[in-house]
Subunit: 255 residues, 2 copies
C-alpha cells in the first residue's frame, strides 16, 4: 500500500518551531508535503486572497524527507494551492499547526491555523488543527508528540465526515504528564477589547488591538476546562454555521 | 425614548454604493455611526489585525445625519474599534453590507461582511449582514429597501440571542417584485478551485485564485434555493462551531 499523503500547513509561518515539530511527527506516518505561509498569518481567520496574486515556491528549510513550498498567501490560500496546484493526488490528511498559542473556545474563528483545517474539511479531506497553549517561540512541543501521532493515525484510519475537522488544543507542559485526551465542545468565552491608543511622531492617533480573555462557561465538557485540567482537548468543528436551533423561533416572527 | 444607535460596517470599503444605500435606510431608523474599512476587504473572513497598527479617522463621504469613520483594518477590526473606542454607548444594532455579491451557503465563512455581523453578535449586539446577489458596482439595491428596513426594525424590537446573527441574502433584481422573505439554512455547497497560473515579466510563476461554485444541496429550505426562486433568504448564524452531533461518535473512538 502507498504511504498516506499528508499536507502540513500552519499560520505562524513555515519556519516556526511548531510546524517544524509537526513535520517531524508526520514524517513517521506518511509522505509529507508542506505548503505554508512565508510569514506570520496569525489571526487571519478564513481570509483568502482575491484582489492580489499568490506565489508558491519550492524551498528547503530543514533536512528531512518532506517536500516544502513557501506561499505568499493566507493559511486557507495555502490549502487551496496545495490541493489544486502543488499535489498530484488528493491528500489523505491535512494537519495544521502546531500553533504557538491555544485556539480553544472563540479563538477558533479568528485562527488561521484552524481555518486551514476547516478548508481541508471542505475539500473532503480529514483535517486536524493542533495548537499548544504556549505563545513562546521556544515552546515545548515534545511532550505532546505521542498524542499528536495517536490522533493523526486514528483520523487516517477512521476518516471524518465531509465538512467536519478536529480542533486539538494541548496544555502548556508543566512538568507532569498530560492526563489524556478529552472530547469537548467549544467553551462560551469572549475577548473584552482594550485598545491601546497612541500618538505617532507626526501627532496622528493610532491603535493596537489588545484585550482580556473572559471565559464565562462553567461546564466541565469544554476545551477551556480541559486545558485548565491538563487534558488535551479535541473539539469536532463544523463548517455549517447555521444556528439550526434558532430557525423555528425566527419563523414565528412572521416577517 | 432615545433613537436607537446603529453601527454600520461592510467589507467593500466605506465608499461602496452598497454601504451608502444601507446608511440611507438606517438613517430612517435611528442614529447612525459608520465605521468601515478605507479599502476593499472582501474575502477577509474573521481576520483581525494583530501584528500591525490600526488607524480610525473621522471623515465625511456623503451628506446626511450619519457620523463616519474610515478604518485601516478588517471588517472585524472595525466593529471592535467602533464598540470599544469610537462609540460612547453600546449600539442597539450592527448592520453590515450591503455586500456587492451574495454571501449564501459556504461563502458565509469567507465573507468579511458576515464576519462583522458575527463579531457584533459576540459583543452581544443584535447584528445583521446584508448581501445582494449582484457583484456590479452599479447593482440595484433600491428594490430591497423595504425588506431591509422591515428586518432591521424587527431585530431592534425582538433582539437576537447572544452569539447569533442574521445572514440576509437578496436576489439580483430581475424586474419583478421579490416573492418575500424565507427563513433558511446554509446550503451545502463548495468552491472548486481553478487557479490561473501565469508567468511574470521576470519569468517567475504566480497564481490568481479563481473557481467554480458548486451547489450540491437539493433542499428547498436553503439560502441558495431562496435566491434561485426570487426570495430574500434569512439564515441565523452561530458563533459556536462545535459539531455537536459528531461529539458522541468521537467519544466512541476511545483515543
Amino acid at each position: 500500500m502507498d504511504k498516506p499523503l499528508i499536507l502540513v500547513c500552519n499560520d505562524d509561518g513555515i519556519t516556526a518551531p511548531g510546524i517544524r515539530h509537526l513535520i517531524n511527527v508526520m514524517n513517521q506516518l506518511g509522505e509529507v508535503v508542506v505548503v505554508a505561509p512565508d510569514s506570520p498569518q496569525s489571526g487571519m481567520g478564513h481570509a483568502i486572497t482575491i484582489d492580489g496574486i499568490l506565489r508558491c515556491d519550492k524551498i528547503s528549510v530543514n533536512e528531512g524527507p518532506q517536500t516544502e513550498y513557501s506561499c505568499t498567501g493566507t493559511p486557507v490560500d495555502c490549502v487551496k494551492l496545495a490541493v489544486n496546484v502543488v499535489l498530484d493526488r488528493k491528500p489523505d490528511l491535512v494537519v495544521s499547526g502546531i500553533n504557538h498559542g491555544s485556539n480553544s473556545s472563540i479563538n477558533v474563528i479568528y485562527s488561521g491555523t484552524m481555518s486551514a483545517a476547516v478548508e481541508g474539511s471542505l475539500e473532503n479531506i480529514p483535517s486536524i488543527g493542533f495548537s499548544l497553549d504556549e505563545y513562546s517561540w521556544d515552546a515545548n512541543f515534545e511532550p505532546a508528540t505521542t498524542f499528536i501521532e495517536k490522533i493523526a493515525r486514528k483520523v487516517l484510519e477512521e476518516g471524518l465526515p465531509h465538512g467536519v475537522c478536529l480542533n486539538v488544543n494541548i496544555p502548556k507542559y508543566q512538568g507532569k504528564p498530560y492526563e489524556g485526551l478529552k472530547i469537548c465542545r467549544q467553551a462560551k468565552a469572549n475577548w473584552v477589547e482594550e485598545f491601546d491608543s497612541r500618538t505617532d511622531p507626526r501627532s496622528r492617533n493610532y491603535y493596537w488591538l489588545t484585550g482580556k480573555f473572559v471565559n464565562y462557561d462553567e461546564g466541565n465538557d469544554t476545551d477551556e476546562w480541559a486545558l485548565a485540567n491538563n487534558y488535551i482537548s479535541v473539539v469536532p468543528v463544523n463548517s455549517d454555521i447555521t444556528a439550526h436551533a434558532y430557525r423555528n423561533e425566527l419563523k414565528d416572527w412572521n416577517i
